[in-house]
Amino acid sequence: MATGYEQWLDMATKQMKGKSPDTLNWKAPEGITVKPMYFEDDIKNLESFSMFPGMAPYTRGPMATMYAGRPWTIRQYAGFSTAKASNEFYRKNLAAGQKGLSVAFSLSTHRGYDSDNPRVAGDIGKAGVAIDSIEDMKILFDGIPLDEMTVSMTMNGAVIPILAMWIGAAEEQGVKQEQLQGTIQNDILKEYLTRNTYIYPPEHSMRIVSDIMAYSSKHMPKYNTISISGYHIMEAGADSVLQAAFTLADGVEYVRAAIRSGMDVDTFAPRLSFFFGVGMNFFMEIAMLRAARFLWYKLMQQFNPKKAQSSMLRTHVQTSGWSLTEQDPYNNIIRTTIEAMSAALGGTQSLHTNSFDEAVCLPTEFSARIARNTQIIIQEESQICRVADPLGGSYYVEWLTNQIVAGAEKIINEIEEMGGMSKAIASGMPKLRIEESAARRQARIDQGKDVIVGVNKYRLKDEKLDFEILEVPDSVRLEQIDRINHIKKTRDNAKCQACLEAVTKAAASNGNLLEVAIAAAKARATVGEISDAMEKVFGRFVATTQCVSGAYSSEYSETSSSSAQVIEGLRKRTNDFMAKTGRRPRILVTKMGQDGHDRGIKVVASSYADLGFDVDISPMFQTPEEAAKMAIENDVHIVGASSLAAGHKTLVPELIQNLNKQGAGEIMVVAGGVIPPSDYQFLYDNGCKGIYGPGTPITESAGKVMDMLEEKYCK
C-alpha cells in the first residue's frame, strides 16, 4: 500500500462522519464500480498502460505529437433537401472554417429507392440529401474540388451506387480516382444491429464490403474504405463497454472477410477507420476511446500485420444525438461542449458536434454555426491541444481504461466463441444486449436516477420554443422526380440497360460490383435502378424483430417505494381495464417511412408490455396503409407511431385517414419521437390524440394513454 493511504482513509472516514468512503462507490451502467478516489496502487501492472503516444499499443493515441502537431479535423455531418440546397450549405460552412465534408443522405437514398418510388413519399430530403443519379451528385459537389477536399459519406445500404456516382462525378470534374480522399461508412454489420438502413441479406452485403475494399486498394489508395461504427450502437442504448466490444468485433469480422477474399492484411488494414459515439459520462467516454485503441492493436496481432498502421485505430467521433433534449434545448450546447471535450481528451482524429436543435428538427444555419464554433473555440482558445494525451498517467483514467478493456474483451471472447460477429448477429445476442441496456437506461431516467436537466429535474414550467425551425418542403420530392424523368428521357437508354445488366451479371458471378456500377452511374442509371439490378440476385433483407421483456421493470424493482409504486399503479390500471372490458389494452407500435431508428419503439414496446399492455410491433418501413391494415387486423385500441426523421406531417395524418377510410376510426393514434412543438397543433388538427416528445418518461406516456382508454372504454 502506498504511504499515506491509511491517513487518507482516516481523514475520509472522518469527513464522512464515521461512514466508510466505500459508501460513495458508484456503480456505472457498464457494471464498473467507481471509487471516490484513485492513487498509485490502482494503476500497478495495468495491461493497457502505455508510455508514449504514437507507439504501440497506442492507448495514448495514434500520433506521436497528437494535437500539438495538428488538431483533429472539424467534420460536420450535414445534408438535407436537394443537392443544390446542401451544396450551398457546404460551401458556406467551408468558408467559415470547417475542414472536411460529411454527407448525410436521405433515408430513401440509403435504402436504394429513387425519389419517385411511392414507398418513400414521406422521406425525400428529410433527414439528408436525396441523390437519385450522378447528376445530383455533380450538383452536390459543384464548386468543391474533390482532389483537395476529404469527403466522408454516411452510406451503407446503397453504398455501391452512391460511391460509384461520387467517383463518377469526380472523374467528370477532371479528378483522377487515385487523388480521391475521404471515407465511406460502408459498415453494414451495425445496420443489422441498430440503424436498419440495409438492403440485402448479410452475406451479400459482406461481399459488397469486400468488393469496395478490393477496388479501392487498387485504384484509390488514399481512400478509407470503411468506417466501423459504434456511434449507432451507443445511440441505440449501448453503454461504453458494449459499444467498444461490438464495434471492435465488427472490425475483426471485416478483416477476416477481406482476408478471405484474398487480400493481404497490410493492403487494406491501414485504410480501416472507426467512428465512435461519445455521450455524457465524461471520463468513461475518454477511457473508452483509449481502451478501443489498445484493444484494436491487441486484436489485430492475430493477423500478423507487418505495417504499424495496420493495427493503429484512427477514429471519427460524434457527440451523442440521444443526449440532446427537446426540453430547455439551449442546454444542449453545454452537453455538446462537454462531449466534445471527452472526444478531444480521448484523442479522436476528427469530430462532429451536434447542433442544439437536433432533438427538435434539422439544424439551421444558426445552430450549425454554434456547433462548429464549439470545436473551433476548444481548438483555438482553450490551449488544450498543446500537449499530447494530457490525461495519460491519470490514476483514474488509466484504471478506467483498463476496466473497459477487460469488460469489452470478455464480450469479444464470447462473440469469438460463437464464431464471429456475423454468427453472433444472426443469433440476436448483440441486439438483445443493446436493447436491454436501452430499457434499463430509460428506467433509470424515468426514476430520476440518471439526471437530465430540464427533463426529469429542474424542469421549466412554461416552455416556449423561440428559435427558428428548418422544415424541408414537400416540393423537394417533385423537384427530384422531375430530374429523374428528364434524365431517363435524355440518356442513351440502350447503353444504360447494358450497364445495368452487367451489374446483375457481376452480382451473380464474382465480378467487382463497384467497377461495373461506376460505368452504370456514368451511363446515367439511377440509384434505384442500380440497387434493383443487384436485388435481382441478392433479394431484399427482412429483419426479424426481437424484443426483451422485463428489463424495464427490473430496473425499478431494484429501487424502493415511490417509483416501484408507479409501476404497480399502472399494472393495476391495465388489469382493471381487462376486468372491465374483457381484454388488456392493446397497442400497436409502428415505424412508418424509411427511418430505421428503432430504439424508441423497442423501448416503448418492452416497457409497455412490462406495464401489462398487449403490444403489437409492426415490421420496419411501413407505409401508412400497411400500418392501418395491421392495426385493424390485430384489432388494437391504439396505434403509437414513432418518427425521428421528419416524416410525421405526411405519415401520421395518412395513417389516420386510412383507418377512417376502412371504418376503424375508433382506433386512436398517438405519436412520439422527434417532432417540433410547432407541428403539434397540425397533428392534433389532423386527429392525432397525443404527442410524446423525446424525454417523456414511459410511465407518463403510458399513464396518458390509459387516461384516454379508460375515458373511452370504461365509462
Partner: protein, 329 residues
C-alpha cells in the same frame, strides 16, 4: 362491444377484415356478457366451417417458425389459397402483458391481401395457451380462409393442445451443432404428422441431412397414431424457399389418405368431443371458483390444510360438496 350477434355473423360471412378482427376480439374477451354473444356467433357460423386445411406448427425458439410461415404462406397464396395465420405469443406471468411481434417476421405475408395474420396473447392461467384458438379457427374458416395455420411456441403443454385441434401437426426443427437431437420431447414426436428440418441452406445442408436421419431413427421408436401414415422427416430452407412445395404435397397427401380411410372424419369427431370436454372442464372450474360460498370458505380451508389441521382429502370433499348443495334445490 356490439350486442347483436348478427352484426358479427354478417361481417364475418362477408369476409370483412375489420369485422373478422372484431369477432376474434369478441370471442377472446373474458367478460361473461361477451362470451354469451360469442356463443351465438359461433353457433351460427358453424355450418360455414369445416372445409379448410387446419395446420398446426410448432418448433423450438430459433427454429425459424415465422420465417417458415412467411415463405410457406406466401407460396400458398400464389397457388390461390386464402391463408389465415393464428399466432400465439406468451404473456408475461408478472405483468400479464405481452409482446406480439410475429408480423415483423412475416413482412410480406402481413401486407398480402390473400392472408390474414392474428397474433394472440396466451393470456393468464385460466385455460392457458390457445384458450380460444378453436373458435378463432372456425371464424376464419367461415370468412372463407381455406388454409388455417396455428403457430405455437414449443413450451409447456401447448403442442398437445394445438395438435388436438388441427388436421396436420408439423414440427419444425433445426440441425444442432453436434449430434444431439435439438430439444425435441417424446410427447411431441407422438403427435407429429411430419418433422421438417429447416435452415437446410448454405454450409448447413449436410448437418440438416444428418439431423433428418436422426429424427427418422427417433420416429421409429414411436408408435404412429395412424396405421396408414408414417410421419415423414423432410428438410427445407424457408429463407431460400426450397422444399416448401414438398411440405405442402405431404399435407395434401395426408389429407387424401386420411379422408379415404375415414380417419379425418373420425379425428374431427374426436376433436369436437375433446373440445366439449375442454369447455365442460372450463365451465366447472369457473362455477367452482366463482361460487360465493366457496370464495368465502376457501381461505380458511386453505389455511387449515397448510397448517396440517385438516386432511387435503377431507378439504376437497367439503369444497366439492358445496357445489352439490346447489343441485338439491
Amino acid at each position: 362491444m356490439h350486442k347483436n350477434p348478427s352484426y358479427y355473423i354478417q361481417g364475418v360471412l362477408d369476409n370483412n377484415r375489420l369485422m373478422l378482427a372484431r369477432t376474434i376480439t369478441l370471442v377472446e374477451s373474458i367478460l361473461p356478457t361477451h362470451q354469451e354473444i360469442a356463443k351465438h356467433v359461433i353457433n351460427e357460423l358453424l355450418p360455414h366451417t369445416g372445409k379448410a386445411v387446419r395446420l398446426g406448427i410448432t418448433g423450438v425458439p430459433g427454429a425459424g417458425k415465422s420465417t417458415f410461415i412467411e415463405s410457406f404462406g406466401t407460396m400458398l397464396t400464389t397457388l390461390g389459397h386464402k391463408v389465415a395465420v393464428l399466432a400465439i405469443d406468451p404473456s408475461s406471468t408478472r405483468s400479464g402483458g405481452s409482446i406480439l411481434g410475429d408480423k415483423t417476421r412475416m413482412e410480406r405475408l402481413a401486407v398480402n391481401d390473400m392472408a390474414f395474420i392474428r397474433p394472440s396473447p396466451s393470456g393468464g392461467s385460466l385455460g392457458g395457451v390457445a384458450r380460444k384458438t378453436r373458435e378463432t379457427m372456425l371464424i376464419c374458416e367461415a370468412a372463407g380462409f381455406d388454409v388455417i395455420i396455428v403457430e405455437t411456441v414449443g413450451v409447456g403443454q401447448s403442442e398437445t393442445t394445438v395438435a388436438s385441434m388441427v388436421d396436420f401437426f408439423l414440427v419444425l426443427q433445426i440441425a444442432g451443432a453436434g449430434d444431439e437431437l435439438q430439444g425435441i420431447k417424446k410427447g411431441v414426436l407422438e403427435v407429429a404428422d411430419a418433422i421438417v428440418v429447416n435452415k437446410a441452406d448454405g454450409d448447413n445442408v449436410n448437418r440438416a441431412k444428418l439431423a433428418k436421419r436422426q429424427y427418422e431413427t427417433a420416429l421409429h421408436l414411436v408408435t404412429p397414431s395412424s396405421p396408414n401414415w408414417a410421419p415423414p422427416v423432410m428438410t427445407c430452407s424457408a429463407r431460400e424457399e426450397v422444399g416448401l412445395m414438398d411440405v405442402w404435397d405431404t399435407v395434401n397427401n395426408h389429407k387424401r389418405i386420411m379422408s379415404m380411410s375415414g380417419e379425418l372424419d373420425q379425428k374431427r369427431q374426436d376433436q369436437a368431443m375433446s373440445w366439449m370436454w375442454f369447455l365442460v372442464n372450463e365451465g366447472l372450474e369457473r362455477w367452482f371458483y366463482q361460487h360465493p360460498e366457496i370464495q368465502k370458505l376457501l381461505p380458511t380451508i386453505k389455511q387449515r390444510v397448510e397448517a396440517g389441521k385438516m386432511a387435503p382429502t377431507r378439504a376437497a370433499d367439503e369444497l366439492v360438496e358445496i357445489l352439490g348443495k346447489d343441485l338439491l334445490f
